[in-house]
Amino acid sequence: MTKREFRIKRLKAVAEEYRAAQSAATLLGEELKKNPSFGDAHGWSNTAGKGFQNNLEATFIVRLYAEFEATLRDYWEKYRERDTRPPMYQLLRHAIPDQRFRQDDIDNADDVRIYRNHLIHDSEDEPPEEIVVVSVRDAELYLRTYLSRMHYDW
């Protein structure tokens, strides 16, 4: 398995975990309806249970992006043999892509970066106009497509 395949597989695994977590959240919701103090016996409050459900998508966007960022940094340091640490904007948009990348694939991956930054830094606010809200399904697709254009022999 090439490193590229390995990294793409990790993204897929996180997205699959998200689907499992969605099922778990549904089951938890049903349980909380029947027994609102269900969390008390397990050391968490009803509010935390609701927070888990509401923030599930955001949590997995952050995780997917963390995998992606680690991949790009690894590619930059190990494959491109650079000892610099460019900001992700530079790395994602300029330093890594060459003409084998479609501009749409770069822009889509960058939409995930911008949205993730919003989730991390301003999660209490509504997204500003220039932010595209990206679902976990789309984020996985966008980041995977980006990685698939990186060099195979990395």
Binding site: D98, Q103, D153
Partner: protein, 246 residues
């Protein structure tokens, strides 16, 4: 390869600005996919997200840059730019567009997108036709066979459109020219050339001078991937090198 937009030739910059605006205009559709937003927020986003409605989008337009287009396309583009510039210029930079401005702006913007799309697509598909025809000629001269297959490509601004994939049957090997797209960093279109089945490929792209170049980076790492002009000799060299890797 670091590509900064300020290095682009002027017509390419204009086209990129319109393409970026086309993505922005499509954003509210993306917002509706999110379970995090309610109908009120979506309505507010639709109304407030008219950030594409600015004359800046057409700032880099110069009619003389499109002198090689057919006269009717040139005229349509000129008119679309003028109309859009007029409507977008009515919106104060510090206030949101009114309903009327938004409606007229949207009509003008869609006409602008259609006009630019036609110009870009005509030029790009003509370039691809010449590129593929050259390859077909080299294949025939070498006594091999080739076959065209239509592929659907989808890109911002251009939408979904067909481009040819070329399959080359050279003795026992299959090579495929596969379209990447018109919008790629640092170029005006790209194709992959791969030996199948494998990961190995040559990246072929069209530079801003309109010429095609190759970059055979297989087995060398990206730093060793110098570009070379695309011609028959380069084509045959790429096939040999790809063949040696499988």
């Amino acid at each position: 390869v670091v590509v900064e937009t300020d290095m682009l030739p002027r017509p390419a910059e204009f086209i990129q600005d319109v393409r970026r605006a086309a993505r922005l205009e499509q954003k509210p559709k993306v917002l509706t996919d999110s379970s995090k937003l309610g109908p009120d927020q979506i309505a507010a986003a639709l109304h407030g997200a008219a950030i594409w409605l600015t004359p800046k989008i057409v700032e880099k337009y110069a009619s003389e840059d499109f002198g090689e287009c057919p006269a009717d396309q040139q005229e349509r583009l000129r008119l679309a730019v003028e109309t859009f510039r007029g409507v977008a210029g009515e919106v104060p930079p510090d206030k949101p567009a009114t309903g009327d401005q938004l409606a007229r702006g949207l009509t003008a913007f869609h006409e602008l997108l259609a006009a630019v799309r036609d110009v870009v697509l005509r030029e790009w598909t003509n370039a691809v036709e010449r590129f593929i025809r050259d390859a077909e000629g080299w294949v025939a001269e070498s006594g091999w066979r080739s076959r065209r297959v239509e592929r659907q490509v989808n890109e911002a601004l251009l939408g979904t459109y067909p481009l040819p994939q070329l399959q080359v049957f050279a003795e026992a090997d299959l090579y495929v020219f596969d379209p990447v797209g018109r919008f790629v960093p640092g170029g005006m279109g790209a194709y992959d050339l791969a030996i199948q089945p494998s990961y190995y490929l040559t990246s072929l792209y069209r530079d801003y001078d309109g010429r095609w170049y190759g970059r055979l980076d297989v087995g060398r790492g990206i730093e060793g991937a110098a570009r070379f002009p695309w011609d028959k000799e380069a084509f045959l060299g790429c096939l040999r090198e790809l063949r040696s890797l499988v």
